[in-house]
């Protein structure tokens, strides 16, 4: 009888442990699935009146609603790892390999064109309903690929130093 109680006593924490261990991955998995749902950020229809990155850099006002069109790229790595943010290049500019001679409307991926690239690219940050940057890689969240032509809707963020960032709440992929 004593040994039975002892066995029961020893088994109890294991049983409790197993129960909680069994629940937590499922819960975690569910939470993950919710946070990975990028469909709410994908627009079914293309927004009107989109402007290019160069034009937006010059004309957009801080905080005003904006629709921006461009191609994902303009950098050796246009993605921010683990964040719903990416670099958008003005559609009129094409990128050539580093070391090749640039003609008008072209930039290379080398550091020689770093300043030019900064003028025709912008960072797009996809924000959630609370205005926080979504902490899921945009490739996973939205299924984006490099060189995809996208139209993003959201608000411009601009400061006196000339820094311009697109705070997006919706992305339309032209395919």
């Amino acid at each position: 009888m004593k040994s039975f109680f002892l066995l029961a006593l020893l088994t109890l924490p294991l049983a409790v442990g197993c129960g909680s261990a069994g629940e937590s991955p499922a819960t975690a998995g569910h939470a993950k699935a919710v946070s990975f749902d990028g469909s709410k950020f994908l627009l079914a229809e293309e927004p009107d009146d989109a402007i290019g990155v160069i034009e937006a850099r010059e004309e957009a006002e801080d905080g005003e609603p904006l629709v921006l069109v461009g191609r994902i790229g303009g950098s050796t790595n246009p993605w921010i790892e683990g964040r719903a943010a990416f670099m958008l290049l003005d559609a009129s500019i094409s990128v050539i390999d580093e070391g090749e001679e640039c003609e008008e409307g072209e930039i290379c991926t080398g550091d020689c064109c770093a300043t030019d690239r900064a003028n025709c690219t912008t960072l797009v940050k996809v924000l959630d309903a609370n205005g926080q940057l979504v902490t899921v890689d945009s490739r996973e969240l939205l299924g984006l690929k490099e060189s995809d032509m996208v139209v993003v809707a959201g608000n411009a963020k601009k400061d006196d130093s000339g820094n311009f960032v697109m705070l997006a709440n919706g992305v339309y992929i032209r395919r």
Binding site: I80, A114, T115, S161, N163
Partner: protein, 389 residues
């Protein structure tokens, strides 16, 4: 059953001592080949270790956008560390101290007391925040540098081509028109920092008449937070900054040195190849001189396969003995030897991989080197072989 067909194990062993000069010469040749393989693999492994040990996935390097991958050419505003600490979440902090290390990094000519010509060295201007970010750095002797002082890594003498004694604590080094006293020695777990001279940042800036920095190294709470520094740099294009994870930065340098590593492996293959040919040559000589003995063994009833195995056994024993000697010599003389390269200096590394490759080459030399001459000798008819001189 199998034992009856084979020659006794000690027959092959005794044969080695029957011709001591030949065995010793063969052993010497094999040892040199295996030692060469060990040195080249040690070079490759040392280079790889130096670059991989330097990169920490939690640390992000922030430097100038237009400096390519060359931090020496980077120039960023002196206010960058404060801006980063204030603007980016996830920076490691302890008791109000942010793990943000402003650094000035340059390659310059450094001379010690007994150097006829200054050597090209690497100098890093640091603050007391540096060890918080570069946690592999350990002060092993002396003290942290104060005004007019520097501390030196354990491979600086190799990078400079200087005598190690000239870099002892209390000795002086001269660079950029100023003489600095050595206050301490540090190690950095085999990373590239070990070939650097660390000076107090403010002192170095005054000496160089510079207000700017080369880079800021920031330690984040988690590797995931490195992305936030990247976002900051891409948002603030007015600062013209670039953020790269330290591990990614040094991995890219590893790519840069890929041809060197490939060349190293080609050299290993060439040495092994030439070793096999030399072994073949020696074994042909050894077997030809024993044709009568081998034919006699056949006449006694031993199968050709058994005699072949004995010859391979002899060669493999010699090769393994050579590998053993080479590994002992390698571990005692080659392991830890410093080699200078553009990024600084690194130590040759005789590790398990090097020893495995060296032993593999030795086994290959033994087996492949012995087989063809043994097969050739076995093809001769017994009567003809017994008559041969």
């Amino acid at each position: 059953m199998l034992g009856q067909r084979l020659l006794p194990w000690d027959y092959g062993v005794r044969n080695l001592f029957r011709r001591p000069t030949r065995s010793a010469l063969t052993l010497g040749g094999l040892t040199i080949v295996v030692l060469l393989v060990l040195v080249v693999v040690g070079f490759i492994r040392g280079l790889e270790k130096s670059l991989s040990a330097t990169g920490n996935p939690n640390v992000v390097l922030v430097y100038s956008l237009s400096s390519a991958a060359d931090i020496e050419n980077s120039s960023i505003p002196g206010r960058t560390p404060a801006l980063l600490a204030a603007s980016v979440d996830g920076v490691s902090r302890q008791q109000g101290v942010e793990y943000v290390s402003p650094e000035l990094y340059l390659g310059t000519r450094i001379s010690t007391a007994n150097m006829s010509e200054p050597g090209m060295g690497l100098v890093r201007g640091v603050t007391t925040a540096a060890p918080l970010v570069r946690d592999q750095v350990q002060l092993v002797e002396g003290a942290w540098p104060h005004a007019g002082e520097v501390m030196v890594g354990r491979l600086v003498h190799s990078k400079l081509g200087a005598n190690k004694k000239d870099l002892a604590i209390g000795q002086q080094v001269t660079f950029d028109g100023r003489t600095w006293t050595i206050s301490g020695h540090f190690t950095a777990a085999g990373s590239a920092f070990e070939s650097e001279v660390w000076a107090p940042l403010a002192e170095l800036q005054t000496t160089l008449k510079r207000q700017d920095l080369s880079l800021v190294a920031v330690r984040m709470d988690s590797p995931d937070n490195v992305a936030d520094v990247d976002i900051f740099c891409r948002e603030r294009i007015d600062l013209e900054l670039k953020a790269v994870s330290e591990s990614v930065y040094y991995a890219s340098l590893q790519k840069h040195y890929k041809p060197v590593r490939m060349l190293g492996w080609v050299v290993v293959a060439l040495i092994a190849g030439s070793g096999i040919f030399a072994g073949l040559n020696t074994m042909y000589g050894a077997v030809v001189g024993r044709i009568r003995e081998l034919a006699t063994l056949q006449a006694l009833g031993f199968r050709r396969r058994a005699i072949l195995l004995t010859l391979v056994q002899e060669a493999t024993l010699l090769a393994c003995a050579g590998a053993l000697i080479a590994c002992i010599v390698g571990l005692s003389l080659v392991d830890g030897a410093a080699v200078r390269f553009t990024m600084g200096a690194f130590m040759l590394k005789v590790d398990s991989v090097g020893i495995a490759v060296a032993c593999g080459v030795a086994a290959l030399l033994g087996v492949v080197g012995a087989l063809p001459p043994a097969v050739k000798a076995m093809r001769l008819p017994v009567v003809e072989a017994i008559k041969s001189i």
